[in-house]
């Protein structure tokens, strides 16, 4: 790896490939966003949009992908990502990339994308950039300009690939809209016929545990009420839960309550957790580190409640209350309840 193979430089790399995911036999929300981004790129480049899906009983998802903008869908038979060895996914995507020679390969910044995109880049010996929030085409070189938050969101970097071959990119969730379905769109569905040599795959998956979230999923919630280190302990989250329940929303946290063991890890919002864009995001006792804000900056309205008037969260919010949440939340909840459910 690392050296430009001799014939690599001469080959023509074109078209856009999305490495997609299926949830409950449907195109995942993330993949739908990727198809929206990829369709726009393909149209601007005058090239076609390919999608690779791995799964079982995914024919319907493939049809759906064509309505969402894919020109060609490549189907590979295999277990869902969470129940498979990652190496199997690398091998399937590497096979498709070697054959298609795509200009751009798009992943979502999901468990799968974070894990597989870097391995695939190493395998194919091509550039890779994770956690991108925007992609543009350089009009001169037609190479892809990748915009990505760095330093935990304190800065934004724009990168350009200066190396031949496919450019692999993982896109952050919720930075693009989901693709609009159009049932009249035509496309082709191709099963992948080449078998992956599984004998070469080292290791074994022993077990997968998926935690079912209580109530509404964070990503689907119109309102998210999140607590941070300022909550001070597990007990304080009762008020957070009350408020979330009243607003039919979901409960989230910053990293401190997870690290301290007050709340389960699967509720963490931020750069290394869930990315949400609800209508209303209520941040209670959260100082507002950029790493946390990365997970909620897509919210229409951010409300901050914090004792510290200097907390950074107030610089990134629309509505703020300076004070102890133990005093503010009970009256906030009471007032909202009297109006919403008298």
């Amino acid at each position: 790896m690392n050296q430009i193979p001799e014939n690599n430089t001469k080959k023509e790399y074109k078209n856009v490939l999305v490495c997609g995911e299926v949830t409950d036999k449907k195109i995942s929300a993330m993949t739908s966003e990727l198809l929206c981004t990829a369709r726009e790129l393909s149209d601007n480049l005058g090239e076609s949009l390919h999608l690779t899906l791995i799964g079982r009983e995914i024919d319907e998802a493939a049809e759906q992908a064509i309505a969402l903008g894919a020109d060609t869908v490549h189907l590979a038979l295999g277990d869902p990502y969470e129940e498979s060895l990652p190496e199997f996914y690398v091998k399937v995507f590497a096979e498709v990339c070697t054959r298609l020679k795509p200009r751009i390969v798009l992943f979502g910044q999901t468990d799968m994308g974070r894990d597989i995109a870097p391995r695939l880049a190493g395998r194919l010996n091509v550039p890779v950039c994770l956690d991108c929030v925007k992609l543009d085409i350089d009009p001169e070189s037609r190479s892809i300009l990748q915009t990505k938050p760095v330093y935990g969101g304190n800065a934004i970097a724009v990168w350009k690939a200066v190396y031949p071959g496919s450019q692999i990119v993982a896109m952050r969730p919720r930075v693009a809209s989901p693709a609009e379905p159009n049932g009249a769109r035509q496309g082709e569905i191709l099963p992948l016929t080449e078998d992956v040599d599984e004998s070469e795959i080292r290791g074994e998956l022993l077990n997968t545990v998926k935690e079912k979230s209580k109530g509404i999923r964070l990503e689907d919630a119109k309102t998210v009420v999140a607590g941070g280190g300022g909550i001070g302990g597990k007990e304080g989250f009762q008020l957070i839960e009350q408020l979330a329940q009243l607003l039919r929303g979901a409960v989230g946290t910053s990293h401190v309550p997870c690290d301290e063991g007050w709340m389960p890890k699967n509720l963490e919002i931020g750069q290394t957790g869930h990315m949400v864009s609800p209508d209303v995001y209520i941040a209670v006792g959260i100082s507002g580190a950029p790493q946390h804000l990365a997970g909620c900056s897509g919210a229409k309205c951010i409300v901050a409640i914090n004792k510290d008037p200097e907390a950074h969260i107030f610089k990134e919010s629309d509505l703020g209350l300076v004070g102890d949440y133990r005093e503010a939340l009970p009256t906030l909840i009471e007032k909202l309840r009297s109006i919403l459910s008298p």
Binding site: N2, D131, A161, E334, L336
Partner: protein
């Protein structure tokens, strides 16, 4: 079990955003004044996990870092936590290396040291947040890889690794040698002990350059980078906060409820 931990020195990521400064012209981040650089927090978790494995299974822990300034500080930090030895990879030719080149440099060192069972890396570095080096290193060595580990246990077949998912976890069994990237779910890294600090201060930390690790100059440094940084800037602030006030906090809570309802969003 012989373990290598790969570490990176970064500007303290816990500084308040107001102290974060960069130069748009040179596209460089200014180190915050008066705040020393730190070991990347995820790498510190990797050191902690290595120490737990050593406590159970014995063996040796070697800390590595690629650092332009040839500073032994973060290797010494790992030594003071309990690592056995360490090396700094420093050479003018390494300057501007991207994740591919860094992985190549580390792979060369790991091959030179030899007899390694396990390589641990932090899941990503909190400066450029790329999250690539560990995975590229595994590809480079052609060793199996598990990313985002929370814990590691030894087994007859090698190691069993628990990997974090956004909503759950997975358990993998992989043969050794292997590469594992480590997440913060490992738990708090231990503080260096007094004796650890004294013994670390007495240890030599050799500095190795291009010739020591037999690196191909075409694969390292700025010239080998696959991505060119076009722009670096601080994102513009898009929100303006209206502070809701009241005679008491309880009163302000009520007013906030009214304001919230007025947005029409709930």
């Amino acid at each position: 079990m012989n373990i290598i931990v790969c570490m990176k020195k970064i500007p303290d990521p816990e500084i308040p955003p107001a102290k974060f400064k960069l130069d748009v012209e040179t596209k460089r981040v200014h180190p915050p004044e008066g705040i020393p650089p730190v070991i990347n927090p995820y790498d510190e978790h990797a050191v902690e996990l290595a120490l737990r494995l050593k406590e159970k299974n014995g063996g040796k822990i070697t800390a590595l870092t690629v650092d332009e300034e040839a500073s032994p500080a973060i290797v010494k930090h790992a030594l003071s936590m309990g690592a056995d030895e360490g090396y700094v990879l420093a050479d003018a030719a390494f300057s501007g290396s991207d994740s591919f080149s860094t992985a190549y440099i580390l792979a060369q060192v790991i091959k030179k040291i030899g007899d390694i069972d396990l390589v641990l890396c932090g899941r990503q570095a909190a400066d450029w947040d790329n999250g690539l080096v560990g995975s590229l290193l595994a590809e480079n060595l052609d060793w199996p890889l598990v990313t985002m580990a929370e814990s590691i246990e030894t087994s007859d077949k090698g190691i069993e690794v628990r990997r974090m998912l956004l909503d759950g976890c997975q358990d993998f069994s992989v043969p050794l040698p292997a590469v594992v990237t480590v997440s913060s779910e490992v738990g708090k890294p231990r503080l260096p002990s007094g004796w650890g600090i004294i013994s670390a201060s007495r240890k030599e930390v050799p500095v190795w350059g291009v010739t020591d690790i037999d690196a191909d100059p075409a694969r390292i440094g700025k010239g080998a980078a696959r991505l060119e940084l076009l722009k670096l800037f601080v994102p513009p602030r898009e929100r303006h906060c209206e502070i809701v006030e009241g005679e008491t906090t309880a009163e302000a809570g009520k007013k906030l409820a009214e304001k919230l309802l007025k947005t029409g969003l709930i």
